[in-house]
Amino acid sequence: MSDIAAIEVTGLVKRYPRVAALDGVSLRVEQGEFFGLLGPNGAGKTTLISIVAGLARASAGRALVMGHDVVADYREARRRIGVVPQELVFDPFFTVRETLRFQSGYFGLRRNDEWIDEVMAHLDLTAKADANMRTLSGGMKRRVLVAQALVHRPPVIVLDEPTAGVDVELRQGLWSFIRRLNREGHTIVLTTHYLEEAQQLCGRIGMLKGGRLIALDRTQALLQRLADVQVRLRLRGELPAALRERAVEQGDGRVRVRVAAAAEVESVLAACRTAGATIEEVEVGHADLEDVFMQLMAGDQRKIAA
C-alpha cells in the first residue's frame, strides 16, 4: 500500500451561518479502494466531497488528494480527482461531444478525442455524441456527467449519489463500468442512499451523522458487528412485551427481532404464539447494512462499537 492516500482529510470543519455541516471529520481513503460514504440527508456527505473537490472551502482542517492540498496545491489536486455531481446539471448550449471536449480543455488537454470516444463507447453515448444536451433523457444526462468526470483520467473518482433516479438497467451498467475502473486501479468514493449497493460494492464504509464520522470500517467488519440472526415476522396481533426490547417494528405488522443464535428462533415464535399473535410470515436472515445503518443512526452506537 502506498504511503500517499488517495484522499486524506484531517479535522475538517465546515460552518455555515446557522449550522455546522462538518464537525471535525478525519478520514483516509487509500489508493485503489472502493469506499462508501453513507449517512442521511444533511449528514455532511456532499459538503465533505465539495471540500475535497475544491467546490467549497473548509472553515478549519485540511484535505489532500493524492498528497496534494486542495487549496495550496489546487491544480495538482484537481487534476487527480473526477467528481460526478449529485444534481443532474448540464449546459444546454452544447452537444455531448462539445461538452466533453470543453471539459478536457478545462483540464488542460487539447487532443483527447481518442479517450473521449472510448469513454463515450463505454457509457453507450456514442450514438448521442452529436445530440444537444437538452434533448437527452435523465439517464443519458447522468452518463454524460460520469463521462465528464473521467475525461482527464483521474486516479480518484468521486460519485455523489450517482444512481439517484436512475433505472435498473443503467444502474447495473454504470456499476460494472465503475467496478472495472476500480480494478484498473482507480480509487472510487461513493455516496449513495441505496445501502444494498454500498454493501455489494464498497470494501470500506464511513458513516456520517450530523457532520461527524460515527463509523469507519471494512464493510464485512461492520456487518459482523451485528452478527446476530434476525427473525423477520409479519404478525397479526400484539408483539409480546418480552420481545419488544430487541425488536424493530416496521409497521403493517412487520417486525424484526434480533436473536443471538439460530436456536433462539423457536423461542421467539413460541413467545408470539403464547401471546396470541398469529404469525403470517416468517423469514430468518443475517443483518444487512441497512440494519447497521439504522442502528447507528438511531444513536445505538455502543451496540456497534468494536
Partner: protein, 278 residues
C-alpha cells in the same frame, strides 16, 4: 508517482496494475478552452446576442438622427447623425459586454453547470480573464456590427483611430468585469435585471451618447463628469473627430483606474470564493 521499488519487491503481493496517472496538462489550455466556450455560447445564439442589439442601434439612429439632424450641431462642422454613430456604437458595445459575462455566469450558477468550470484546475485569474475576454469579444463584435450598418448614414472621419481601439477595448473590458461582479453577486435573474436596468442603462444613457454634456446645465455637467461611462464614450468619440468634451488622456486615466478598481474587486471576490465556492 509509482514507486519503482514496489514493482520489484518479490515479497509484496502481486504487483497491482500501474495506477492511473493524469496526463500532462498545460494551464493556458484551460483558459483558452473556457474563452472559446464562452465565445461559442453567445455565437450559437447570435441572432439574439448580436443581430438584435445591432437592430436596436439602427433604430436609435433612424429615430434620433432623423428628428435631430437639422436641429443640433454638437461639435463645429460635425452633423448630429455623425456625432451619434460613435455614441451608439459604444453604447451597444458596453451593454453587450456587460450582458455577456453577467448572463453567462448567472445562467451557469442557476442551472448549476458552473460546477464544470469550478472542478478543473483553472485559476481565479484564468477564470476572470476568460469571462472578461469573451465579454470584450461580444462587445466588439456588436460594436462593429452597429458601426457597419450605421456608418452609411453619415460616415464619420477617423482622425485618431488608435483612441477608437483603446477605448473600445478598455470600455468592453470594464463592462465585462462589472458583468462578472454582477453575475457573482446576483442569485436570481431579477437581481441581475435590476443591476442592468438601474445602474448600467442609466449610466450609459446619461453619458453623452445622444448629446454633448457641454449642452447641459452646470449641475448635470458636474454629475456627468462623475460617470465613468461618460469618459469611455467621450474618449471613443475623440478617436473619430479629434474633438471631445474632456481630454482623451484624462478619459484614458479614469477608464483605466475604473478598470483596475473593478478588476481588484472581482478578483478578490473570486479569491474569497464569494458566492461561488462557499
Amino acid at each position: 508517482m509509482l514507486n519503482p521499488a514496489e514493482d520489484n519487491d518479490a515479497g509484496s503481493p502481486p504487483a497491482r496494475r500501474r495506477r492511473p496517472q493524469p496526463p500532462r496538462a498545460l494551464s493556458a489550455v484551460g483558459f483558452r478552452t473556457l474563452l472559446s466556450k464562452e465565445v461559442l455560447r453567445f455565437w450559437k445564439v447570435s441572432f439574439q446576442t448580436v443581430a438584435a442589439p445591432v437592430l436596436t442601434g439602427v433604430l436609435y439612429l433612424l429615430v434620433f438622427g432623423h428628428v435631430l439632424e437639422d436641429r443640433v450641431e454638437v461639435f463645429p462642422g460635425v452633423g448630429y447623425t455623425a456625432f451619434l454613430i460613435p455614441g451608439l456604437v459604444m453604447m451597444s458595445l458596453l451593454q453587450n459586454a456587460f450582458a455577456n459575462s453577467s448572463s453567462s455566469l448567472i445562467q451557469s450558477k442557476i442551472t448549476g453547470n458552473l460546477v464544470f468550470v469550478l472542478l478543473p484546475p483553472i485559476s481565479n485569474r484564468e477564470f476572470f480573464a476568460a469571462y472578461v475576454a469573451a465579454a470584450v469579444i461580444r462587445g466588439v463584435v456588436v460594436g462593429v456590427g452597429v458601426f457597419a450598418v450605421t456608418v452609411w448614414f453619415a460616415p464619420p472621419p477617423f482622425r485618431a483611430p488608435g483612441w477608437i481601439l483603446v477605448f473600445a477595448l478598455l470600455g468592453a473590458a470594464l463592462l465585462g468585469v462589472l458583468g462578472l461582479i454582477a453575475g457573482i453577486v446576483s442569485e436570481k435573474f431579477d437581481q441581475l435585471a435590476a443591476f442592468q436596468n438601474f445602474v448600467i442603462m442609466p449610466a450609459t444613457f446619461l453619458s453623452g451618447v445622444f448629446y454633448s454634456v457641454h449642452g447641459l446645465p452646470a449641475f448635470w455637467q458636474f454629475v456627468s463628469h462623475l460617470n465613468p461611462f461618460f469618459y469611455m464614450i467621450d474618449g471613443f468619440r475623440y478617436g473619430f473627430f479629434a474633438v471631445s468634451d474632456a481630454s482623451p488622456w484624462l478619459s484614458l486615466a479614469i477608464v483605466m483606474a475604473a478598470l483596475a478598481a473593478a478588476s481588484a474587486v472581482a478578483l478578490s471576490m473570486l479569491a474569497r470564493g464569494y458566492k461561488i465556492r462557499y
